[in-house]
Amino acid sequence: MSSDVLQASRGLSPPKGEAIAIKGISKRFGSIVGVDNVDLHVEAGEFLSLLGPSGSGKTTLLMMLAGFETPSSGSITLGSRDLTHVPPNKRGIGMVFQRYALFPHMSVAQNVAFPLKMRGLAKAEIAPLVEQALARVRLQDYGGRAPAQLSGGQQQRVAVARALVFQPPVLLMDEPLGALDKKLREELQIEIKTLHASLGVTIIYVTHDQEEALTMSDRIAVMDKGRIQQLGSPVSLYHEPNSSFVADFIGKMNFLKGIVSGLDDRSIAITVSGQTISVARSQLGGRDDVAIGRPVQIAARPESLSPTQNGEGAIAGDIETTIFLGSHRTLIVRSDDGTQLQVQVPSSHRDSGVEQRGRAFVRLDPGAVRVFAGED
């Protein structure tokens, strides 16, 4: 296998991402289950994010992929190669750490040369590859510097160059932008996306930042309690969450309490805040556990709520505050039954008749909500 990588890094074959198959993998720490029977197939060249709160098992899963943790059960396959019991240094997978993990006693160029040296390349072969890798992250003039002389963003770019210089089929990233400020983070997100597109490497990206996951990923695996709660494209996760956890974790979400008041094969009638709305059965996320009289949760994005002039068919409440966010404003409305609602209004909507303070009527777009039944 290492000869494959060697060949690739000598430029004999173009770099290609490889698929990763994770089958029934679990990791127990004593009586605590870190990762609970996870199945995941990552396509070759895919950008997949593992998204979840801390303690959800996403980092443990990544550590098992890197070989720093041994799974309690299950298997990991890279391409056609079983990786489950291969030591980390024989996996040939690149990795970028949250706190850069550059070797402080080596120059930037030596850091990038390290994986090539480990693969036994001659000095004459290493130099041009290092130069090329540094140029790829726009740091070609920084080879002679010590890592400590670089800014956080530059250090992380060196770490990316180092992880990619040996042209691994897969790159693991463990919250790589977590230590950087927002502006830099957004810059680097684009840079990583561009690198991903040009290299075709498979990327598995761990983050707890849902915005980051939405921006960058082909698919997102939302994790909680050691399991994958939902796997899908950013669009499908955003619009069709299958549990209130995912609905709440991704993007901003309003939750309203409703009671099922009517049912047929295609649609469900729900009474919410004195109004009755009708939704399609396909808008039901998760368990199909509805019956007349049963409570359900209605999840509505701030952009699927809109302020309206008259109270007919709308939820009435008081505006608590308004938050200006540039392209839009968010009204925080306390409905008469006590639920707090975030309502998104375009900025140009300034004179739409909705006062900054006072009464407001909020209309719900029934076609854009998700309904969760029998969860609590």
Binding site: A66, F68, F97, L102, P104, H105, F114
Partner: protein, 288 residues
């Protein structure tokens, strides 16, 4: 004036004392060190040159009589061997300590620290108990039938080296431990991920990053070993005079204070010289 007051208040709020106040606090220690340590040392060194008329006789004697240079050389040699042994034996202990967590780490730390808190005298006598003719080592070996006659263990150079290594080992382990602890654990992981086996990762990353600890520990052990008196005096024989025991002999038995002063002066210069060399060598080795 107003500015000075402001500065003083700033320091006070930052939990710092003004210069005169901190000097006042340090004064008792300065006085103690000055009167009880520096003054006698200065007097001893002075006495080696002025007896009472200026003379180089004491220093010439050291150079002219080969026995003294031999002792000096042996002292340096012993200190070097002890430093190397303490490093070879101490580094793995520090490494294990830095990787352990919780209760196990405390246990190892206790094993390292308790000897440090025990008097050197007690530890040296313990070695006598172990190594003497009828001591634990000899009687055990004889009862096992490994040897028929007791071995000569005590009052040998080997005994001095073993006992000194034991006594000085904590001074090697603790600085190395603290520098190992400060290495972020993901550096080793990064090295492993980039293709280094456990051993290569240790050689390429962990070892070079623990050099400051190795340097601090080695210099501490080496300096202490150069001037070590109690252990060589107790477990070493007349054949194993070190410069410290020689100085002791000159002052307590022969009452030749000027010559003792000259020996002490030479030891001081040699120590400072070797430390300087060592420092340069290590800085060079770091490539910085």
């Amino acid at each position: 004036m107003a500015n000075a007051t402001v500065a003083a208040t700033d320091r006070a709020t930052a939990g710092q004392l003004s210069r005169p106040a901190s000097l006042t606090l340090a004064l008792p220690l300065i006085l103690l060190l000055g009167l009880a340590f520096l003054l006698p040392v200065a007097k001893l060194l002075w006495g080696s040159v002025f007896t009472p008329s200026p003379t180089a006789e004491n220093y010439l004697r050291i150079v002219q009589e080969p026995i003294f240079l031999k002792i000096l050389l042996r002292t340096v040699q012993t200190a070097a061997v002890v430093t190397c042994l303490a490093f070879v034996l101490g580094y793995p202990v520090a490494l294990v300590m830095s990787k352990l967590g919780g209760r196990a780490a405390m246990l190892v730390a206790a094993c390292v620290l308790i000897p440090l808190w025990t008097s050197v005298l007690v530890r040296s006598y313990a070695w006598i108990v172990l190594l003497q003719r009828t001591g634990v080592v000899n009687s055990t070996l004889m009862s096992w039938g490994v040897i028929n006659e007791p071995l000569k263990l005590i009052y040998t150079e080997g005994a001095v080296i073993v006992a000194m290594t034991h006594v000085l080992m904590p001074y090697m382990i603790l600085p190395i431990f603290s520098s190992l602890r400060s290495i972020p654990p993901e550096l080793d992981r990064a090295a492993r991920n980039l293709g280094a086996g456990p051993w290569t990762s240790f050689i390429a990353v962990t070892l070079p990053l623990s050099l400051p600890g190795i340097y601090a520990g080695s210099i501490m052990v080496f300096i202490l070993a150069l001037g070590f008196y109690v252990t060589p005096a107790l477990v070493g024989g007349p054949q194993n005079l070190t410069i410290a025991t020689l100085i002791g002999q000159q002052t307590t038995e022969l009452l030749n204070w000027p010559f003792a002063g000259a020996l002490a002066g030479v030891l001081l210069v040699v120590t400072l010289g070797l430390v300087g060399l060592f420092r340069r060598f290590l800085r060079f080795g770091k490539g910085a």
